[in-house]
Amino acid sequence: MRALKTAILSAALALGIAGAAQASEGVHIPKQNWPHAGIFGTIDKAAAQRGFQIYKEVCSACHSMRLVPIRTLAGIGFTEDELKGIAAGYEMTAGPNDAGEMFKRPGLPADRFPSPFPNDQAARASNNGALPPDLSLMAKARVGGEDYIYAFLTGFEEPPADVHLMDGMNYNKVFPGHQVGMPNILQPDGVTYADGTKATVEQEAHDVATFLTFVAEPHLDARKQMGVKVILFLLVLAGLMYATKRKLWSTLH
């Protein structure tokens, strides 16, 4: 057994050394407390609604959310009439009509959120060459998920003295490479929340991250609720199976 122990020890040592070397390169993304975390966690609907307000008033000027139908927002507590109102606020291109022409119409809840730019090239042309990524899946498409979104949105700061920023770039402590085209967009009281919540930068980042978690995973609440039932059922079944097995096999000994 000594050979085995030595092997395990040296392996652990090697892993530890290499792991430490790895950690020093990466950026630490602090974990936040999310009401939707954990087995029983559900989306904080009020926060998600505030996050939607920021998306609508701030983010959507540059960022698309092309995979998300407006009706999805029913999942964070908007009523059908409210959804119709939200959708009607967008102008959609439809058609062709009988004359063969495209026309404009008010949006419907079944429409997806319209993109701010007609294509990636137009988006780059308007943003100093940078492409604002689509936000539909942002909370699942980055290491760290919603924690990354929060850390990114609160991570803008003055560059250290030894960092020379390229033209039009901004310094962010968690963005890979630290230079990002997006400016520090969240400002204290940058939005006036409908529910009267004080709009600090941290509050805004928290709300946007909650909203983006919801749009990336609109069935999150239903999934966890089903999961609790499924696991409870399986636990009871496992107990019954084990009792049956014990009784049956006891006749063999």
């Binding site: 070397a21 790895q22 899946l137 089903m226 999961g227 499924v230 000994h253």
Partner: protein, 422 residues
């Protein structure tokens, strides 16, 4: 298979069919009365678990295929449509995506169990080789399935892995062209991968049936690694092992459900939620976790062809295991020296897996090289030499003598079998 005496059934319709096509006799013989060594532990349940995983994958995959579009311009969005708009589409997709990982967990445990208890040795060589082929086909199926959502890791994983074949002289480039259906990974690649991903699970099913048929010829191995000598050493599969396997399956499903419902993306890569973009290469291209040890071996060799040969060789090598291991004793229980090397191999596989997830540079590259060397050293040098040198412990006379204090009784069903015969 040997001539089986027909079973008499109560239901006349069943009897009528059975006398013309003896499928009921076959099922009765192979799954009711099949004698299982009475001392098998819960590690023997992983064969059944892997079989159930294959069924779950085929069932969920079928429904996903009904909603999926295998065109590069539609694939990513169609998967998101499944996640958002198809009724319980998120459930089916998460069950399928996590199912691939759970399938590999079951198969890896199944394989290491066979390694530990020497299940690959005579007379089970063909059973083992069929298992190695199943493993290979499974890897191909899983790889092509991961390409289908057409995210960044799908695209770049496909680019890296298909390019490997170009390392082979003469045949390499034509193989790559056939895989791609063009000059790079593109729409024809996605289309044929979808077709193959749909086909291969049924090939797997056929191989699993052969694997089971080969198993039922010589019977299951057991923790002692000695042959069952009669009914006192065995229990009939049903109900004893069905209920035991059933319990193990439910426990496995609990772990599976925990992933599906509470951390469905834990075993995936975030980059695969970014649509494929041939112009943007991810910082680190990593395959799914179950390929990482082999990926580490691929990158450990500083030569492309050498790396590819090491990777494929590491799997092909397994097929020769029954002849590389010269020891007559099957189970590690009676092989004190080999048992230690078994665990070192298991740790080596884990270290290789971790090394495969890290950038191939610095200390991780060195660790991967040592790990790769040790993997081949274990199978090509240690196993044959140990078989000759190792002093094994004495084997017990029989299973029943070893596991039962007073010799024990015979399982109820074991006696019933001859009486049921017509």
């Amino acid at each position: 298979m040997a001539q089986v005496q027909a079973t008499k059934f109560k239901n006349p319709v069943v009897n009528w069919i059975d006398s013309r096509l003896p499928i009921f006799t076959m099922l009765d013989h192979e799954y009711n009365h099949y004698p299982m060594p009475r001392n098998v532990n819960y590690l023997w349940a992983f064969g059944a678990i892997a079989g159930i995983m294959l069924m779950i994958m085929i069932a969920t995959g079928l429904f996903l295929a009904m909603q999926y579009s295998s065109h590069t311009s539609l694939a990513f969005d169609s998967v998101e449509r499944i996640m958002r708009d198809v009724n319980y589409g998120w459930l089916i997709r998460y069950v399928h995506a996590n199912g691939a990982s759970m399938f590999f967990i079951a198969v890896y445990i199944h394989m290491f169990r066979a390694l530990y208890y020497g299940s690959y040795k005579a007379p089970r060589e063909i059973l083992w080789i069929l298992g190695v082929i199943i493993f290979l086909v499974m890897m191909g199926t899983a790889f092509m399935g991961y390409v289908l959502p057409w995210g960044q890791m799908s695209f770049w994983g496909a680019t890296v892995i298909t390019n490997l074949f170009s390392a082979f002289p003469i045949v390499g480039d034509p193989i790559v062209t056939l895989l791609w259906g063009g000059f790079s990974v593109d729409n024809p690649t996605l289309n044929r991968f979808f077709a193959l991903h749909f086909l291969l699970p049924f090939v797997l099913l056929g191989l699993v049936i052969l694997h089971t048929a080969a198993l039922h010829v010589c019977g299951s191995n057991n923790p002692l690694g000695i042959d069952a000598k009669g009914p006192q050493d065995t229990v009939p599969f049903n109900p004893y092992v069905t209920v035991k396997d059933g319990f193990a399956v439910v426990i496995f499903l609990i772990v599976y459900a925990a992933f599906v419902f509470f951390m469905p993306n834990y075993m995936g890569h975030p980059d695969n939620y970014i649509p494929a973009n041939p112009l943007v290469t991810p910082a680190h291209i990593v395959p799914e976790w179950y390929f990482l040890p082999f990926y580490a071996m691929l990158r450990a060799i500083p030569d492309k062809l050498g790396g590819v040969l090491a990777m494929f060789g590491s799997i092909a090598l397994l097929a020769f295991l029954p002849w590389l291991d010269r020891s007559k004793v099957r189970s590690c229980k009676f092989r004190p020296v080999y048992r230690q090397f078994f665990w070192i191999l298991a740790i080596d596989a884990l270290i290789l897996g971790y090394a495969g997830s890290q950038p191939a540079e610095g200390s991780w590259l060195l660790i991967a090289r040592v790990g790769t060397f040790y993997y081949f050293f274990h199978f090509l040098v240690l196993l044959p030499v140990l078989g000759k040198l190792e002093r094994t412990r004495p084997l017990p006379n029989s299973i029943s003598e070893s596991v039962l204090k007073g010799g024990g009784g015979i399982a109820a069903g074991a006696h019933a079998k001859p009486m049921e015969k017509a």
